[in-house]
Amino acid sequence: MSSALVLLIARDLRRAWIGGGALLPVAFFLLVAILFPFAIGPDAKLLARVGGGVLWAAALLAALIPIERLVAPDMASGVIDQLLTRGQSAATIAFAKLIAHWLAFAPPILLAALPAAALLNLSPETLIRVEIGLLIGTPGLAALALATGALVAGLRGAGAIAGLLLLPLAVPLLIFGAGSLDGGVGALKLLAAVSLVLVAGAPFVAGAAIRAGLD
């Protein structure tokens, strides 16, 4: 890895953590997990049955929270201009942002899944499957968040539009992620394939969006 990439990742990570920005998605994730038992009622069996799917939906919604501050602030403050002038490609910038976003977003969600699983009365086996699924699926979610963040950067009401753009594209992740809860290895493989495609494609989509936003 080039030193420029490491510098960019370190800067984005630092900026994600200052002001508690990286804690917001986790708080949101936990909030959904807390609200669900209230809405469904204290039926432990029912909660255990739907809990895994709830965690997946919560993770997906949590991925939406940081979208607006992934790319737009750097475009507004001229940081992207400076990086492009230095000969960094837009796709490299986007790739660094993808890694930094995953590092700031996924590990806290994986940790937060532990108390959330307790709230939803999940069995240890289901919890392990959720964790494995999230580990494989969150890079794809981060990639989607980055690409949509770059596409809507500079638009008014960007957050709402980003949600409309991201959620349909995230459906395959949700289907295979929740599908893997039954213990099927096939669903995990498909989840990994979807995640890989998203991670491979997103830097180029985001890079093209950043370039298009310059004019």
Partner: protein, 197 residues
């Protein structure tokens, strides 16, 4: 270091200027002038590779340092650390102290960027350009927000850069002293009106 060959710039479907040629070698300076909206900033962004010409060619392989109206320094960091991020990207981390000194900012090195005044921010952005060590400077309205003393520091820094065979392209609507600069008056390159096709 930088060559414009009959460059035409189109923004938002409107031609800003056309047929602009320019050659900058080591030690050269060019001063772009013209009224607001004539395309000075677009010309700087063309030179930085952020925009592409609608016609003509732009060549040059020199490393560039860009100054725009944004300082592009992380607001929450102390000035010296915010500058060090860019200097490290440019593999010139040792230049920060010298650059701060050149713009009389050494006393503010530990002050967070968000507390700086407009003029101090501007000087910090110029310090970023100096610290980059890039041979080609692209300065868009460098004198904005500077007081007389700071303008003197800027002119000294540019002179020093040219003396060490650097080149500088300046767009400015306020007077700035650039000895022997190539003068480019953009309003003389306005697109010729063509009969409607």
């Amino acid at each position: 270091m930088l060559t414009f060959d009959a460059v035409t710039c189109v923004r938002g479907g409107r031609a800003l200027f056309e047929g602009l040629s320019l050659a900058l070698g080591p030690g050269d300076a060019a001063l772009v002038t013209g009224p607001n909206g004539v395309g000075k900033s677009s010309l700087i962004r063309l030179a930085a590779g952020l925009l592409f010409p609608a016609a003509g060619r732009i060549t040059g392989d020199a490393t560039r340092a860009l100054l725009t109206d944004q300082a592009s320094l992380d607001e929450e960091l102390p000035l010296a650390r915010a500058l060090a991020f860019w200097a490290r990207l440019d593999r010139a981390a040792n230049n920060v102290a010298v650059a701060l000194d050149a713009l009389a900012l050494s006393d503010l090195a530990d002050v967070p960027v968000r507390l700086l005044s407009t003029g101090q921010r501007r000087r910090a952005a110029i310090a970023r350009v100096i610290a980059s060590g890039a041979p080609l400077w692209l300065l868009d309205e460098p004198a904005n927000g500077l007081d007389t003393a700071a303008l003197g520091l800027l002119e000294t820094a540019i002179a020093k850069h040219r003396a060490s065979s650097g080149a500088v392209l300046v767009a400015s609507h306020t007077p700035i002293t650039l000895p022997d600069a190539i003068a480019i008056e953009l309003s003389q390159h306005l697109p010729q009106l063509e009969p409607a096709a």
